[in-house]
Amino acid sequence: MVFSSISFLFYFLPCVILLYFISPRRLRNAILAVSSLIFYAWGEPRYILIMLFSTVVDYTCGKLIAREQSKGKSGKVFLIASIVINLSVLGFFKYYNFLAGNIMALFGMSNVGLLDITLPIGISFYTFQTMSYTIDVYRKNVGAQKSIINFATFVTLFPQLIAGPIVKYTDIAEELDNENRGSADMFSEGVARFIAGLGKKVLLANNIGILWDTVQSTPIAEMSVLYAWLGIIAFAFQIYFDFSGYSDMAIGLGKMFGLTFPENFNYPYISQSITEFWRRWHMTLGSWFREYVYIPLGGNRVNVPKHIRNILVVWLLTGIWHGANWNFLLWGVYYGVILLIEKLFLQNILRKLPRVFRHVYSILFILLGWVLFAFEDMTTGVAYLKIMFGNASFVNQKAIFDFLSYLPMLIILGVLSTPIKDKIMKIGFFKKIAPVVVPVMAIAVLLLSVAYLVESGYNPFLYFRF
């Protein structure tokens, strides 16, 4: 199920809220776990078994590690077991066909060994989350979870199940065990956050997504330079508002049930460097890799060659995490290389340049990155890049029409990509009218989003791949 659907908003959510709040507190985690299973099963009833399997494995490994450690042993065997099992499941479902396809292409064989498997929704998110649990238990950062219900609640938790943020067990361990968590204020804050996210996804991302779809499906012969730039800018907005809107909805829903998830985005498009961009974009993924890969490899406290290796390993993994395809791999390496260059010398130069230049530089490389990301077929991606850099007429009628049609939207998206609105809300006059204006706006966003969902001709979901 996705949050931005009538089924979720007007059938599933009210039922879960009702059940959750009329139940005695000790049963609430169980209610969440069962509802989450229904939520997951909505789209893919079969793959629910994999998630349950993952839950049981990591719960057991966590317990066994704790038991071994209480006896003075390390419990490493069970940590390795947990990691191997998690990565094998992820590897099989996500990467088997990619690997097999490439190996066979290498040996010139036809695609005989390919399997008809679809990717279980959210598997990239929940395997990372459960792995964080056993690793942290092993590192004694957190005690093993005694209740399998509470652990299942963590793994299956529907608000963050299919598109993150990547919630580490330590993020919510305390709240999960606390039957008295949550408050009316936290609930209300959650609702407001959810509505904001819903609006971002349904009103902003989906609408600008139409422009990207139009540009993307335009035959090369009918493209122009400006049209290609307009298209990739549309994609940049779409992916940001889609993904961060989804994270907002997840964080909001978490709060409604008394759980605090980590933030995932912090105005990435105002970044002054690529290094900064990755501190503001999909923050929970970055911190996951930092904590469980980069630092264990030695991070930056090693000699230069090893440091370079560490960065490249992390970015190779980041790339391939986004999808089993060469373009994602290349996209990851692209960022790895830029970050290396920035670390080695570019940042020192950038620091001396005017702000505007730093911003333009960052946006330019982010947009080029999105071209790599957007085209799974790399020949098309390269052809698109060529058009952006002049391999077509400069401007055509299509570009003018679509630019004018979407200009108001682009301005809104641009403004909302910066913290301007937060600053405005701090000005005295706006502070005064906020108690009236904010609820009115929120309700307007909610109603308009519902209008878009009811007429749901266009409601694509970008993150099924992850």
Binding site: S188, A451, V454, E455
Partner: protein, 365 residues
């Protein structure tokens, strides 16, 4: 902040639960008049449908199709898109004073259809006339948003290149453009009006018979308004205007559906009270008709719905006019023309049909 959050949360919860109750209590609709389609119904809930995922995917469609006040929500969406600068919604340009269908050119299908027309001319051995009815986007091209043009030129170029000299081509763009300030195209429907068809007819036949047009119905909400999803209050609803002089008394019509004949009419006043008032003409598209009238000779008309307002003029000139629609009638047109021993074949199509209607390949059968 805390207080405004509480207000938001309160309204949100009330809205969610009220909607849940209203959606359950309100009876489900079978059909949407405004969208002209059957609405999805509650799917069967069985173990099989649930496991296969069939239930859930159908339930999602059901939930949005049967959401209370659906038409109002759809309107709200369309209006917001229009206000934010979208001048083309769902393939319909919304201009200052009319809704205009965007012509999507499918080059490959166009070529196949033109080939089929050539084949028809060869196989039948009859004189063939093709009347291409200009799209509203051509006649009112000036109204299109900046940067957009009608793509009809390509179609017309191909028609003349491929069929010129082999069949008779009538393309009444100029005469319609000269009279574009008259009511020759609907504001909210893609069709031309009976007055528009009159100008084409007078050019085609070289007559200047004068008619007195009267209004037989107003409040016609055209297909393009529905397709765009937003009825703007400042663009008036359409009306149906017909020549006073042409009445049902001039025609004896037999309609053939699935092999059995029934009596038909040229004009159906009962449809003027219905949603789709364009069905006033012959009751909508019919698979096969034979229209007897007061003129001389026999013609065979193959057509799309643009011809429906043209038929009254054409049929009057003939003793019998056979009319077929390839969408609902698969028999060979050339055979039929020979069997019925007609004097000529007239094809009436919009560029949209020439580019996108796959059944036109049957013309060559």
């Amino acid at each position: 902040m805390k207080n405004s959050n509480r207000i938001i949360a309160g309204i949100f919860i009330i809205f969610l639960f009220l909607s849940l109750v209203v959606n359950i209590v309100l009876p489900d609709n079978l059909y949407s008049e405004s969208e002209k389609r059957e609405l999805d119904q509650m799917p069967d809930f069985t173990l099989d449908t649930v496991i296969s995922g069939d239930f859930t995917s159908k339930f999602d469609k059901y939930a949005s199709d049967q959401f209370f006040g659906r038409d109002t929500w759809v309107f709200a969406k369309g209006l917001s898109q229009y206000l934010i600068g979208q001048k083309k919604l769902n393939g319909v340009y919304i201009t200052e004073d009319r809704y205009i269908r965007e012509l999507v050119v499918n080059k490959e299908r166009l070529e196949n259809n033109l080939d089929a027309i050539l084949k028809l001319a060869e196989k039948s051995g009859k004189p063939v006339t093709l009347l291409v009815v200009p799209e509203a986007s051509t006649i009112y091209e000036d109204n299109l948003p900046l940067g957009e043009t009608s793509k009809e030129n390509h179609v017309i170029d191909r028609v003349y290149e491929k069929l010129g000299g082999k069949i008779n081509i009538v393309y009444p763009k100029d005469i319609l453009q000269e009279n574009k300030d008259e009511y020759i195209y609907f504001n909210g429907d893609h069709h031309w009006t009976m007055k528009g068809a009159y100008y084409a007819y007078s050019q085609m036949m070289g007559t200047d018979k004068a008619y007195n047009f009267i209004t037989v119905a107003g409040d016609f909400k055209g297909t393009m308004v529905t397709k765009a999803g937003v009825k703007l209050p400042w663009i008036p609803l359409d009306k149906i205007e017909v020549p006073e002089e042409i009445t049902n008394d001039y025609f004896a019509i037999s309609v053939n559906r699935d092999g059995s004949d029934a009596d038909g009419e040229m004009f159906y006043p009962e449809f003027l009270g219905e949603f789709d008032k364009y069905r006033y003409f012959q009751g909508g598209d019919q698979p096969l008709m034979a229209i007897g009238s007061v003129g001389k000779g026999a013609s065979f008309v193959l057509k799309d719905s643009f011809a429906n307002v043209m038929l009254p003029y054409l049929a009057l000139d003939n003793e019998v006019t056979y009319v077929a629609d390839t969408r609902y009638n698969r028999q060979s047109p050339s055979e039929y023309a020979k069997t019925m021993n007609v004097d000529e074949i007239i094809l009436i199509y919009s560029p949209d049909s020439l580019c996108n209607e796959f059944s036109l390949v049957n013309l060559g059968n």
